[in-house]
């Protein structure tokens, strides 16, 4: 039976059966009917082995990596042709590099102090809804059960205010921040009306929550901005750095102390979520003008000479922490030359996409590249 499994014809028949192979084995089994059981068991054994080898056969090289590696090989070949032969020699002496992808977010997680910017209360014309302002409702509900500390900035200047755990709040004029006596005992929850910049002391045991209208933002060691309109318009949260989670506050009024569970949205840098108060839906987008991540140690130079478009998009991913969706096969031949300095992300994308005859859209906080490919 093992003889079958090690036989070339047998293997070919099982991996890629053809009418010829069917005919061959039919004929064989007619001639040697006593081998039928062994033949069948051999088939089962073969499939068992193939199943056991799936983790091997499923080791895929990602398309991105394949293109990147080809790019690197081509550069080495070009460098060699240009007479620079030491590239490879240096390569040869390089020790085994550590595993890739030390994500920026891990660095961010190690940040000592997280900074948060929170803003509410722009005057935007909107038809008044029957809904009462959430802040006032929440505070009166809290006051019925607990001692509430309220602080309002009545001056015309931003004012720095310290919370009991030394986290600070830079309050904009006409803005108010409140917290209960439980603050820094059982929780670290603040309630906000207006606009503020928060400097949050990290404390893994007591996550920091910002309640603004219907949404709750959980601080995970980060810098972010919340815009919550009190007049019924959309609420937005924008991440500048690190990570935050945004929830819909489904426990309205009855003490927002309960940890919200529903519809959590994880926001990464340069992402923005808009909460549509009417539809009660979150919509994740990219910020209008993404900035490079402060944690990225070696920012790509954004200088390309006959560079591959794929490399540019990878540089974008790395620099802005923004996902770029593209088909590397279509882009494999797309090369361009450009040098950027202070151009914004949309400007860079415009230039490169125009050069390689592609277009881009921003869908669900991702840059999606559409192209029909380039001629080699």
């Amino acid at each position: 039976m093992v003889d079958f499994v090690t036989d070339d014809r047998f293997l070919r028949h099982h991996l890629a059966p053809s009418t010829d192979s069917e005919a061959f084995w039919e004929e064989y089994l007619r001639t040697y009917p006593h081998k039928h059981t062994a033949w069948q068991q051999a088939g089962e054994l073969l499939h068992a082995v193939l199943l056991g080898l799936t983790s091997y056969s499923r080791t895929y090289l990602s398309e991105e990596e394949e293109v990147r590696l080809l790019d690197r090989i081509m550069r080495t070949a070009e460098a060699y042709d240009a007479g620079i032969q030491d590239t490879r020699l240096r390569e040869e002496d390089a020790p085994v590099k550590p595993l890739r992808q030390t994500g920026w977010y891990r660095i961010a997680a190690a940040a000592v102090v997280a900074l948060a910017v929170v803003a509410t209360g722009y005057l935007v014309w909107r038809p008044k809804t029957s809904r009462k302002a959430h802040y006032a409702e929440t505070i009166s509900a809290l006051e019925s059960t607990s001692r509430v500390t309220r602080h309002t900035n009545k001056s015309g200047q931003p004012e720095l205010y310290y919370l009991p755990d030394s986290s600070s709040v830079m309050l904009a004029p006409q803005s108010e921040v409140s917290f209960t006596a439980a603050y820094n005992q059982e929780n670290r929850s603040v309630y906000l009306s207006g606009k503020a910049t928060l400097d949050v002391v990290p404390n893994a045991g007591k996550p920091f929550f910002v309640y603004a209208n219907e949404i709750v933002t959980k601080v995970l060691g980060t810098r972010f901005e919340v815009v919550a309109f009190d007049d019924g318009s959309d609420v937005t949260v924008k991440v500048l750095n690190g990570k935050v989670t945004v929830y819909q506050n489904n426990v309205r009024n009855n003490g927002a102390e309960a940890v919200p569970k529903q519809s959590a949205i994880l926001l990464l840098p340069n992402q923005l979520v808009v909460f549509d108060r009417k539809a009660e839906l979150f919509d994740k987008r990219l910020v209008e003008n993404p900035v490079s991540l402060p944690e990225v140690k070696s920012l790509p130079k954004f200088e390309y000479e006959d560079g591959y478009a794929v490399r540019f998009f990878e540089d974008i991913k790395k620099t802005y922490g923004v996902n770029v969706v593209y088909n590397p096969e279509l882009l494999a031949n797309c090369q361009f030359s450009a040098s950027f300095s202070d151009e914004s992300l949309p400007e860079k994308l415009d230039v490169v996409c125009k050069t390689i005859g592609a277009s881009y859209e921003i869908i669900d906080a991702q840059v999606v590249i559409t192209t029909t490919g380039c001629k080699p």
Binding site: M1, V2, V5, T6, D8, L11, L15, L45, L46, A48, V49, L50, L51, G52, L53, T54, S55, Y56, S57, T59, Y60, L61, E65, E66, L69, L70, R72, I73, M74, T76, A77, Y80, Q85, R88, E91, E92, A94, P95, V96, K97, P98, L99, R100, P376
Partner: protein, 196 residues
Amino acid sequence: MVGEPTDEATHWKELLSGSKEAYAAIYGLHVKAMYRYGMSLVSISEEFVLDCIHDVFAEIWIKRDRLSVPDNIRSYLFVALKNRILHLLKRQERPHMFVTQEHFEDLWFESSAEDILTQKEESASREELLTRLIGQLPPRQQEAIRLRFVENMDYHEIGQVLEVNTQSAHNLVFRAMEKLRGWLLVALFLFQYCLF
């Protein structure tokens, strides 16, 4: 698996005469399998495997004046990759002794029925059990059956990659299959035993 062999040989000839397109085409035909094979040899670092693939292709380009068309490009590339990996690993200054292949096979334990039972109990699925059983084969037998059943190489090609003759390559696969068959029978028996 491997595309039209004549095409490939043509690509290779073009590559030797300096065609970058042919160079990229050869890369495209083989890089996925090379990566898979490389990762099975040194799974600790993807970066390292990618470096080695880079070096193999760079070397082909640099030495193209002196190269001929190999009779089998896939196994030629596998051999080159394996040599590159071993070469760099040896330079890692790890003061370990290289056990000769024969001794290495001897060191391998014969799995007992209890071992199989343990594997069976610890495996959540049939796939996991089979993966574990294959993992108990001597490394060269594992390598041989990967080349045989996934890379679809014939015994001559397997022999080239493993640096043994065709008959020995066949024997490696044969022994691996005999062992697996025995283990599967044990596992099947234990399975029924547990049922009743």
